[in-house]
Symmetry: C2
Subunit: 361 residues, 2 copies
């Protein structure tokens, strides 16, 4: 295994879209959605392990998730867990991780992964990552993966491909990054064959991305600039606690990818979903003969169709007459809601918070 | 207070009709359905206390409910809790309680109450009980209360009134007891004005009911016949453990009331319900402005009507689009079912038991 290859797993996100399953204290990445015994985060690490030395896996998370990270990934070295003292979106996180890794190994190449997505075709995923590493190790290049769209999804940002790179498989210059489109735009994108979903999976060398920060986001680079011997040493946590909160709150896409000229996309197809909604979860899950998704839950249904049932713990759900519903049950809350209206859940969570307090969300 | 008056509260019943709220280990009488902090059993005792000396309240229950009885009614004397070693319906239970009370006080009069009903007009209830005591204390008479029907309910047995007793308020000879009727019969009953619901509330003297057992159910009377000095002594529990299981399994209605000639009904109206079904509970409970019953539960509903929401513990329910539903949530089970199909719940409970085991029912 190439010991210069590193993986940064970003696992500090909050999330209430899967309320009541995901809560402030336990966001989506820590949940075992499929009842396999492994959370999305654990599956993310499992998936990359054949490609990257275990000691080269770095987790960046918020300080408040330290305990759950330790519990879910006891095999990760203590010094490989980077605890953000404040939430500053992805750009400061990526910059810190790059500086940390560069201090250990200036020849490092890095794949950066979100921790709350699913990948059904893991071999194709790993092949893409390895081909991506080979591409970025050969020059000053920033690479993002573009997922071949399965439909005109309006919930994702899109990447437009430009000229193909010779000698590499399905790698193109990026022509444009596009925000989440409306449905007419999304249909045009998909029909054109030129647009791909932005999955937030990036590859680069530590050197390339730090150079890009110096050039396109110098305020972050300077805020996190430390004397030699700070990063990857016992002085790092204190330095970060002081400096990191001063970083601007900005995504890596805005800060770097949309500005830089050496940005490439590798187009891939490996059964990816960001599981951003209950509907996405429903579509990614196996159904029983009634067309219902029952996750890991004991369910007896009568006249129920196209619904998703999920309960925490050893509990039984008995239901009748529900069509196209979410039934999600936890210790603190029960949600019974039409799948097609799930965009309202965010407002409901705010309503719950203001009427009944933080403990329920 | 008349110290010859006793109350027997029958609280040994099982019940799965309110599954998942009522379970084998915790039947309906022990539940706080209305979130008042008092179970149906506790409310039954509270309701009779102004009429009967607390030391004259006798609880008859199954041995397995001893702990929950002690927890819910710590003020009841230990020797006033009669623990049945086996389930034998109401006749053996009534006979035992009468023998127990007669041994303490041969002049005793007894009101026998189910423990799982509700009464909205408690003053009217107590007035009826006191008038009933006065009636049975004046002669060898067995009195049952007949509830003025609020509609043609097919879930109750009916009592047909005969000739009115002079000098007593609304007391009649019983012309007939009638089993649960079909809907056409029930409508005829209600229109006639002669039929009343059989609420299972009885009054008599200990002497009268024991004489009736000797005459109409001699096998029970003989099985429970003990030498002087056994009942109301430390020898009673052992005697009962040996003899009680030999009694036939039969209700007091079949064994005595339908046979005896000295049976009377006092017709009453005090906001009674046996809460035999979720629908009965729904109808007995205050509704919010959407026509929903939310019990003691935190609920946020959108587009829900005529539904009942009940959750154990400090939990929130968020629901949309449910019309005429039961949503009942406990630690072990969640039921989401149309109120109009609740008669199917009994079969479902059997299904749950056979597929997933006793622990869920």
């Amino acid at each position: 295994m190439n010991n210069n290859r590193y993986c940064v797993v970003m696992c500090g996100g909050v999330g209430t879209r899967f309320w009541p399953f995901s809560r402030q204290g336990r966001p989506k990445q820590f949940l075992d959605f499929f009842g396999t015994g492994r959370s999305l985060l654990q599956m993310t690490v499992d998936r990359i392990l054949p490609v990257v030395n275990p000691d080269n896996i770095i987790l960046v998370t918020n300080r408040e998730y330290y305990d759950i990270i330790r519990e879910q990934l006891p095999e990760v070295k203590e010094s490989n867990i980077l605890l953000e003292p404040a939430r500053r979106n992805t750009a400061p996180c990526v910059c810190w991780a790059a500086k940390h890794i560069y201090a250990m190994n200036p020849d490092a190449a890095i794949v950066t992964l979100p921790s709350d997505h699913i990948v059904l075709k893991e071999d194709a995923f790993r092949k893409a990552i390895e081909e991506g590493f080979e591409f970025v190790e050969q020059g000053n290049r920033l690479l993002t993966l573009g997922i071949k769209p399965s439909g005109p999804n309006t919930g994702y940002g899109y990447i437009q491909q430009g000229e193909m790179e010779k000698d590499f498989s399905e790698i193109f210059k990026v022509k444009a990054f596009v925000e989440k489109p409306n449905i007419e735009m999304a249909e045009m994108f998909v029909n054109s064959g030129e647009f791909f979903w932005n999955a937030g999976i990036f590859l680069w060398t530590a050197h390339s991305i730090l150079e890009a920060f110096d050039k396109y986001a110098p305020e972050i680079a300077q805020t996190l600039s430390a004397p030699d011997g700070v990063y990857a040493s016992s002085k790092e946590p204190q330095f970060i606690d002081q400096k990191f909160p001063n970083c601007v709150n900005i995504s890596i896409d805005y800060a770097i990818m949309e500005k830089a000229h050496n940005v490439y996309v590798k187009t891939v197809e490996f059964g990816w979903s960001d599981l951003g909604t209950w509907k996405a979860l429903f579509q990614s899950s196996p159904r029983n003969s009634d067309g219902n998704v029952t996750q890991n839950t004991k369910v007896i249904t009568t006249d129920c169709e196209d619904s998703i049932f999920a309960a925490e713990g050893n509990k039984i759900i008995v239901a009748a007459g529900l069509k196209n519903y979410i039934v999600a049950d936890t210790e603190k809350a029960l949600l019974i809601y039409p799948l097609n209206e799930e965009q309202k859940i965010r407002n409901i969570v705010n309503d719950v918070k203001s009427r009944f307090g933080e403990e329920f969300i």
